[in-house]
């Protein structure tokens, strides 16, 4: 095919493009993936009744921490999906602040505990399974985001995969929080963060292949 013919064919297909279509694509994918993750959670582990814990501050602490990390990952993706766009500071600041606040809550809680409680605060009852559950639950969201990203144009694939894993892991952690009854800040700081970190590492690893366009 001659290049001029190709250009003529493409120009004939010049449909108007709406603004902010990148963010919308990513948002739809995140929502669809989150619903899938919720279905997996219910089918796999079931649901603990949520109503009794709605008044507990630890329930919102976990949700808030996960939401802040998810927002950070989402903002990163919104830049990384566009060729040549700088990553921007907002996403990094939000992510770092969330981690810092969580670390301070963990330290505060640990320092005010009696020696006998410390182990329980840091390990809870589920530390062996928590990070891996978050990693597994992140997969539907990750696949959803990957599907959206392949229609966009990320040029730094490992970094984009890591950001997608971060967003997916954080959303998975928020959803897992509906089931999980761990309440201690030190536990959340270590094991939730580890789960999200594993998701990001997995995302970077797989992203270099899955995200090619």
């Amino acid at each position: 095919m001659k290049t001029s013919d190709l250009i003529a064919a493409l120009a004939a297909d010049t449909t108007p493009v709406r603004r902010a279509s990148v963010a919308r694509n990513l948002l739809i994918a995140a929502v669809v993936g989150s619903v899938a993750t919720l279905v997996v959670l219910v089918a796999w582990l079931g649901l603990n009744p949520v109503m009794p814990v709605l008044g507990a501050s630890w329930f919102w602490m976990k949700g808030g921490y996960a939401a802040a990390l998810a927002l950070s990952g989402f903002l990163l993706l919104n830049r990384l999906a566009r060729p040549g766009a700088p990553v921007g500071r907002a996403a990094l600041v939000i992510g770092a602040l969330a981690l810092l606040v969580m670390a301070m809550l963990a330290m505060h809680s640990s320092m005010h505990a009696t020696p006998g409680q410390t182990r329980q605060l840091w390990l809870g009852d589920t530390w062996k399974v928590c990070p891996f559950r978050i990693l597994l639950l992140s997969i539907p969201v990750y696949l959803g985001l990957t599907w959206a990203l392949r229609r966009l144009a990320p040029t730094r694939l490992a970094l984009t995969g890591a950001a997608a894993g971060l967003a997916a892991g954080a959303l998975a952690a928020a959803i897992y929080g509906l089931y999980c009854r761990e309440w201690a800040a030190p536990f959340v700081f270590v094991w939730y963060s580890l789960g999200v970190g594993l998701s990001a590492a997995f995302g970077a690893l797989v992203g270099t292949r899955l995200l090619r366009w």
Partner: protein, 184 residues
């Protein structure tokens, strides 16, 4: 050359935004101009006689078209375009072997005019067209460089076909005279 960086940004960006708003003529002109830059950029890295040079140019133009929604209208166009071109070149090397790393130059590398002949001609044409009134130079560009029909070009310029023909004819006369004067 600084000129190569500063030069096309305003024009290409305007064309890109017009295309995003649904203007097929502007989109065709954008792709045509980018084709020239891409051919030069890839040729410098693959060798001018590489058999797959034109394939890569076409693949990149296709990507520009398919991925144009990822261009943010509030940002400069050349970094977007350069990132797409560099990605396509790396992808090409990855699939077909050869040099894997493409140096992270600034966007100027894509729009620089190292390719002496093409660059010189492009500059001459741009300079000459700059001597005409804006509407007439746009008309000439559409008809003589982009390859629009006289009717399409007239419609874009907002004048009748007859008036456009006269304007193009006078413009060419004037350019011939300019070139003649310079050669003396």
């Amino acid at each position: 050359m600084d000129q190569g960086v500063a030069g096309p940004e305003a024009e290409l960006r305007a064309l890109m935004i017009a295309g995003l708003n649904g203007d097929g003529g502007a989109h065709a002109r954008l792709l045509t101009e980018l084709g020239g830059y891409l051919r030069g950029y890839f040729a410098r890295r693959m060798g001018a006689n590489a058999a797959d040079l034109e394939d890569l140019v076409q693949e990149t133009l296709l990507a520009v078209h398919l991925k144009r929604a990822t261009y943010d209208r509030a940002r400069p166009f050349t970094p977007w375009m350069f990132a797409v071109a560099r990605y396509k070149l790396m992808d090409h090397f990855r699939r077909f072997g050869g040099r894997i790393s493409v140096p992270l130059e600034d966007a100027g590398a894509l729009f620089s005019e190292e390719n002496p002949e093409e660059g010189a001609v492009r500059q001459d044409v741009a300079r000459l067209l700059g001597k005409l009134p804006p509407r007439q130079s746009a008309l000439l560009r559409d008809v003589k460089l982009t390859g629009l029909s006289m009717e399409e070009a007239a419609a874009r310029a907002g004048m009748s076909t007859t008036a456009a023909k006269v304007s193009v004819h006078r413009g060419m006369k004037r350019l011939e005279k300019e070139v003649g004067d310079e050669d003396l």
